[in-house]
């Protein structure tokens, strides 16, 4: 971190606080991770964290739990806008391609139709719109989820392999301003979280 060098060897209280902060950053875990045995417990825990003002926490479940994004207080996905841009780009590309190839570059009389005969080109407009929309949806989803990612700190939790089997995990990240090693742990314990463990970044 930038301020560690300036704090080295100084004895003032402000500098001591800076040292403490630096040490905290260095030793701070990535998140506090635990699990539940039912989606209902997880759902309630997410609602409680959301209402307590936590923002940086995540849930890991073996199957999609309906309404969990509301319980977590996640904002609406931006993916539709990405798809709209992809679709618009696809349509524009198709019209451009068809116009230049049919009207400008290679004018031919095909079946007595006009060179730029829109009805015969609509399938192309349609297909390219769909194709680029799908690409935008598929790759947009990967990009927004920062995939591919082969390692994630929560995987260090000893039981995390069961997140794809029968356990419902919650991970409260230490970067959350509300995060407190003692208070957060106590809150999760009252919610019935099992096997709470801090995982390193």
């Amino acid at each position: 971190m930038a301020h560690t060098e300036s704090s080295a060897g100084s004895a003032t209280p402000a500098a001591a606080a800076a040292v403490a902060a630096a040490v905290d950053v260095a030793t701070r875990p990535f998140a506090l991770v635990g699990h539940f045995e039912s989606p209902a417990q997880l759902y309630r825990a997410c609602e409680t964290l959301r209402d307590a003002g936590y923002e940086h926490f995540d849930a890991h479940t073996p199957f999609p739990v309906h309404g969990l994004e509301r319980a977590m207080g996640l904002p609406a996905s931006k993916l539709p806008w990405v798809v709209l841009c992809g679709g618009t780009a696809g349509l524009s590309l198709a019209v451009w391609l068809a116009y230049y190839s049919q009207e400008v570059w290679y004018r031919h009389n095909i079946g007595g139709k006009e060179a730029f005969a829109i009805p015969s080109l609509i399938p192309i407009f349609f297909e390219l719109t769909i194709l680029l929309s799908s690409f935008a949806a598929f790759f947009g989803l990967w990009a927004m989820n920062k995939q591919p990612e082969f390692f994630h700190p929560v995987m260090q939790h000893p039981s995390f392999h069961r997140a794809s089997d029968d356990l419902f995990f919650i991970a409260v990240e230490a970067r959350d301003p509300k995060y407190d090693p003692v208070a957060t742990r106590a809150l999760l314990e009252t919610l019935g979280t099992r096997e709470l463990a801090e995982v390193a970044p």
Partner: protein
């Protein structure tokens, strides 16, 4: 953040009326009855003025309500065949709309009376010397035509009546077996529905131009039917929710779903309409192209373009956003717009047979629309005021309460 799902799921004791109060019901029936009476008077005046034009105008209005009823019947059957949970309340509303189908047997009388004007191309004496129609005479002859009409309308009326009655029976008994029996009947029903709608479209609408043929025509009519039925459903849903009803069974999520289906079938209509057009346009065979050629003459060209933009491009862009589908007034505006466009669609299919060369709208067209429209409104108002607003004891009632969109 919304707590809607939990509130709905956990609170079946929300104060909610199962029926319309008597004053509202009476008012609805009165207003709809007034429209129907006015429409009937106009119809009589129009018939006295110009019986031939009235036959065409009436057929347009009549098919407008029949297709709406058919779309509603399809929706009811579809919910049973898929065992849908979200649509329990919507299904009841569509049962009301499909109740126009038994009434349509009576409403069809002016069409039968005007058949010789409507179908003069193949019913008239000149058909005997027409080399194309001579080959079609085994199918296109008045006796068989009327017999087929009888079969279609009896079938549609029976299906609509049976599904609505069985659903109403469950309100009283709560018997789950009734749901099972509706599910069993729904699969063969959907087959009968598909065939009868397709052949009905050939007979009632396509035979107006008996030389012309398009195998996809029935699907095109089906697409328009479902869009307009869903538009009526959107109006009923928003209307009842706005009046403070349906609190236990219907939320903005259900409205959103109706909007999504309306959007999807608008796209489907365009897809089928374009599929029909492109093959004919591309092949450019005279006996096929003539139908579109007739609709590209004079002011008919403007009507054709109105359909392209008004029935597809504009509503597509408008309904694309989820915020529009979840906004009450926006969805109502879209629904009314689509109903108007469905009328334009039918007008565009039927009227060029009479108004060759150019469209000549007249007050008689309005009479032909207002009569059937008034009757449809009256049927819905009567059904809405005389029974529960949703299936009271449907086994999926709890599921419908919890329904949310991602």
């Amino acid at each position: 953040m919304s707590h809607a799902p939990e509130v709905l799921g956990d609170a079946p004791d929300v104060a909610d009326a199962e029926r319309l109060d008597e004053a509202t019901g009476k008012k609805l029936v009165k207003v709809a009855g007034a429209v129907a009476a006015l429409g009937l008077l106009l119809c009589i005046a129009a018939y006295a003025t110009d019986a031939k034009r009235f036959a065409f105008s009436y057929l347009t209005g009549f098919m407008w309500v029949v297709t709406i009823g058919l779309g509603a019947l399809f929706f009811v059957i579809l919910q049973h065949i898929t065992k849908a949970g979200w649509s329990v309340a919507a299904r009841r509303h569509m049962e009301w709309v499909s109740a126009i189908l038994p009434v349509a047997i009576v409403l069809a009388i002016p069409v039968i009376l005007g058949a010789h004007d409507l179908y003069h191309h193949w019913m008239g004496p000149q058909a005997a010397s027409d080399p194309i129609l001579v080959k079609k005479v085994a199918w296109l002859n008045p006796g068989f035509f009327y017999a087929r009409l009888a079969i279609y309308f009896t079938l549609w009326a029976t299906l609509a009546w049976w599904f609505a009655r069985t659903s109403r029976k469950q309100d009283e008994s709560g018997d789950v077996e009734l749901t099972h029996s509706m599910q069993r009947v729904s699969a063969p029903s959907v087959l009968l529905f598909a065939l009868s709608l397709s052949f009905g479209a050939f007979d009632i609408l396509m035979s107006l131009a008996p030389h012309w043929y398009s195998t996809i025509f029935g699907v095109y009519i089906f697409a328009g039917s479902v869009v307009s039925a869903l538009a009526v459903l959107a109006l009923i849903t928003v209307g009842l929710q706005g009046g403070g009803w349906l609190k236990r069974v219907s939320t903005v999520e259900h409205q959103h779903d109706v909007g999504k289906l309306m959007f999807a079938f608008t796209v489907f209509w365009a897809y089928i309409g374009f599929s029909q057009f492109m093959l004919i346009w591309y092949a450019n065979m005279p006996e096929e192209t003539i139908w579109f050629h007739d609709r590209w003459q004079g002011s008919w060209k403007a009507v054709s373009l109105t359909l392209l933009f008004g029935h597809f491009i504009v509503p597509f862009c408008f309904l694309l956003s989820r915020h529009v589908k979840r906004h009450k007034r926006a969805l109502v505006a879209a629904a009314i717009w689509m109903l108007a466009m469905h009328y334009v669609d039918l007008y565009w299919m039927i009227m060029p047979t009479l108004d060759t060369g150019s469209a000549h709208p007249s007050w008689i067209d309005l009479a032909g629309l207002l009569g059937p429209l008034g009757v449809l409104a009256l049927v819905i108002a009567c059904k809405a005021s005389r029974g529960p607003l949703y299936p009271l004891r449907d086994p999926r009632l709890a599921e419908t309460r919890r329904h949310v969109n991602l």
